[in-house]
């Protein structure tokens, strides 16, 4: 891509390039920066702000969609856990550890919580206001936690929800003169003697390659949804996972696949909130079944709900299963309360009403919906992966296996800010990097060569095949050796027979080729880890091993790229004796 074309797409980039004295683009067509951030959700935006405020001169953000307006962060409700000065720090760390069945990284959890009120105050000073729940509370409890509370209903100017926070952060990013590269999908991290030195990607509009030289890289490119049935997660295709893994970083917690619930025919956000205010899960005969499975009933953690739904299916009590939002107070106030979230949630409810469907009038057919693979890159306490100079934040990093209201947003913001600060410290001492021209040429070729008029396999075939493999409940919810092995065999077949032949007819498909490769890798890492963990914990349930086994499994499973395409495994004990929060039962 030439500079004129880039400028056309990225007006902000052109402005920032001027701010850098026009020195961003070297004569060999390589953009030079100190810090390259991949992804622009809460984590990427916070990372950029922190790095610039810590004095990093040149920060660039690249995203396969827009910067700050297309991420999961901008589509979520925006509820976020912050620890206020009046909250007890020790109790909160214990709460997080218990909710994650003691597989959380307590060192990182503490740092994220310790710094959270600072982020709350910063957002407030930038004009973000959190609101009041319909119950009159300014902070709400979060499903799955005993003590943690979340701030809800953020607004900023005319925006609400996650879009409000994203917009405020993006405004700050622009003010701090960060170079922006939207519509650019990073396909490979470049290394200089094992240290991160930049990246290569493809432009989603032109199909041409872009190359970045960077002295440090932060991966904040979300997780992987396998195009499950949850709303607004199709774009999350394991891109950050693949970049980290292929660069040599260990991946951890990859067996923890979170499955939420949803309508099979329309998007819905807010099941947890709805269940708190009277929403009930029903079998095909209209019987509410959750009390049979968990003392918290419909308010139980989502993992218990999806597991119960699968058991109801096995007992012949469905399909269909239903979610009933019609009882008071939901039937009366639900529409108003969910509309308060704003953004797509409000518009979606309005559009459903226009189509003649009032979801609060009668039970709705409801299904399991893969939402997110909770694994990610393992980092040290400074958010750096095993690859020097390569940092990970947001959902690309894994610090715990669970999914809770307001915690993913907290994790994304906290890890983003702290990774940005850590990268700034790293850059103070780190020297320059060199890019091998041969390596750059080969990486560009690997990125662009599938664009050949599609003389091969359409990536949509692979994306659909991975989706069909992952979605059945014996693979994603009630897992056993047989179902996981069969799925792994299918994924290996796709990996060996289909991925090498993927081809694209145009730049749009070229990015889908890379997405197909990434989701296939994420599926393989999930299935391998899920086969290895012979117990049940958090979102991982093995039919043959239904109990938590702290004696043998208080450990993380890490996967790393080995020689000739192999995957190496190591088991890492949770350093529970050095952590403040420990299980009460004997280990």
């Amino acid at each position: 891509m030439n500079r004129r074309e880039f400028g056309k797409i990225t007006g902000a980039a052109a402005a920032a390039m001027t701010a850098w004295g026009g020195k961003a683009l070297a004569s060999d067509g390589i953009f030079e920066t100190d810090l390259l951030i991949v992804g622009s959700g809460f984590a990427g935006l916070w990372a950029a702000i922190a790095a610039r405020e810590c004095g990093v001169a040149r920060v660039a953000i690249v995203d396969k969609a827009s910067i700050g307006r297309s991420s999961m962060s901008s589509m979520c409700a925006g509820a976020t856990i912050y620890r206020f000065p009046t909250d007890d720090p020790d109790e909160w760390v214990l709460d997080v550890a218990q909710a994650n069945h003691f597989l959380s990284r307590q060192d990182l959890t503490s740092r994220i919580l310790d710094t959270s009120y600072g982020r709350y105050k910063k957002l407030e000073s930038w004009g973000v206001k959190y609101g009041m729940a319909p119950t009159g509370q300014t902070r709400l409890p979060s499903r799955g936690f005993k003590r943690l509370k979340m701030s809800v209903l953020p607004t900023w100017r005319n925006k609400r929800g996650g879009a409000a926070v994203s917009s405020a952060l993006f405004e700050k990013v622009k003010e701090l003169k960060t170079l922006l590269f939207p519509k650019t999908m990073i396909t490979e991290i470049l290394l200089d003697h094992g240290r991160a030195a930049g990246a290569v990607g493809v432009d989603r509009l032109s199909g041409e390659t872009a190359c970045f030289k960077a002295r440090a890289v932060i991966l904040a490119a979300a997780d992987c949804s396998f195009r499950g049935n949850y709303a607004c997660v199709d774009q999350v295709t394991g891109d950050g996972f693949s970049l980290a893994f292929q660069a040599g970083a260990r991946m951890t917690n990859m067996e923890f696949l979170c499955v939420n619930t949803a309508s099979p025919s329309y998007g819905f956000e807010g099941t947890g909130v709805a269940a708190r205010y009277g929403g009930r899960f029903l079998d095909k005969n209209g019987r509410a079944f959750m009390k049979d499975y968990h003392p918290d009933g419909n308010k139980a953690e989502i993992a218990y709900i999806t597991r119960a739904m699968a058991e109801e299916i096995e007992k012949g009590n469905g399909p269909p299963l239903y979610f009933d939002l019609s009882r008071p107070p939901l039937g009366i106030a639900g529409n108003w309360a969910l509309s308060m979230i704003g953004g797509w949630v409000e518009l979606n409810l309005k559009r459903l009403r226009e189509k003649g469907l009032n979801i609060f009038a009668e039970p709705q057919e409801w299904v399991a919906a893969i939402q997110t693979l909770r694994g990610g890159a393992r980092t040290d306490s400074n958010f750096m992966t095993d690859v020097p100079g390569l940092f990970a934040a947001g959902m690309t990093q894994s610090i715990d296996p669970g999914l809770f209201n307001g915690w993913s947003t907290m994790r994304a913001m906290g890890s983003g800010e702290l990774a940005g600060m850590a990268a700034a410290r790293f850059l103070k001492d780190a020297g320059d990097v060199r890019l091998s021209q041969d390596e750059v040429r080969l990486a560009r070729d690997r990125a662009a060569s599938p664009l050949n008029g599609r003389t091969g396999i359409n990536p949509e075939q692979v994306l659909a095949a991975v989706q069909e493999t992952m979605v059945p409940y014996p693979v994603c919810i009630r897992r056993d050796e047989q179902s996981l092995s069969r799925a792994l065999s299918r994924i290996e077949g796709l990996r060996d027979d289909h991925l090498p032949a993927l081809a694209a007819a145009d730049p749009h498909e070229l990015c889908k080729v890379h997405e197909a490769r990434n989701v296939t890798l994420a599926a393989e890492l999930y299935l391998r880890s899920a086969l290895l963990r012979r117990e049940s914990r958090s979102d991982h349930f093995r039919v043959e091993y239904p109990e938590v086994d702290n004696r043998n499994w208080l450990k993380w499973i890490n996967l790393r790229r080995g020689q000739a395409g192999s995957i190496e495994t190591d088991f890492e004990d949770v350093p529970i004796s050095s952590y403040p929060a420990r299980p009460t039962e004997p280990i």
């Binding site: 797409i9 396969k64 969609a65 827009s66 307006r69 297309s70 991420s71 901008s74 589509m75 879009a163 939207p182 519509k183 989603r204 509009l205 195009r227 499950g228 049935n229 709303a231 607004c232 997660v233 199709d234 774009q235 499955v259 099979p264 025919s265 329309y266 998007g267 699968a310 299916i313 469905g318 399909p319 953004g343 797509w344 518009l347 979606n348 559009r351 459903l352 189509k355 469907l357 299904v367 399991a368 919906a369 989706q467 069909e468 979605v471 059945p472 409940y473 994603c476 919810i477 749009h508 990015c511």
Partner: protein, 70 residues
């Protein structure tokens, strides 16, 4: 799914091209307006409709059928 694009309102500003997470839109340079070139990839997130400065895009709430867990 993308239900309609009002070509009379569309000013071909490329906002939808940039913000769509699924890369659904392109500008038809001959016609001078946006088209949902990759309509099947739409994930019904409404980002295009919410961001379109001219209110030219209308999204239907129904999503394309997906494989189900059971």
């Amino acid at each position: 799914m993308i239900e309609s694009i009002d070509v009379k309102k569309c000013i071909a500003c490329e906002t939808c091209v940039e913000v769509c997470p699924m890369d659904v839109f392109r500008i038809d340079m001959d016609e001078g307006h946006s088209v949902a070139r990759y309509r099947d990839d739409c994930q019904t997130c409404y980002t295009c409709e919410l961001e379109c400065p001219e209110g030219a895009i209308h999204v239907s709430p129904w999503r394309k059928e997906r494989p189900q867990a059971w």
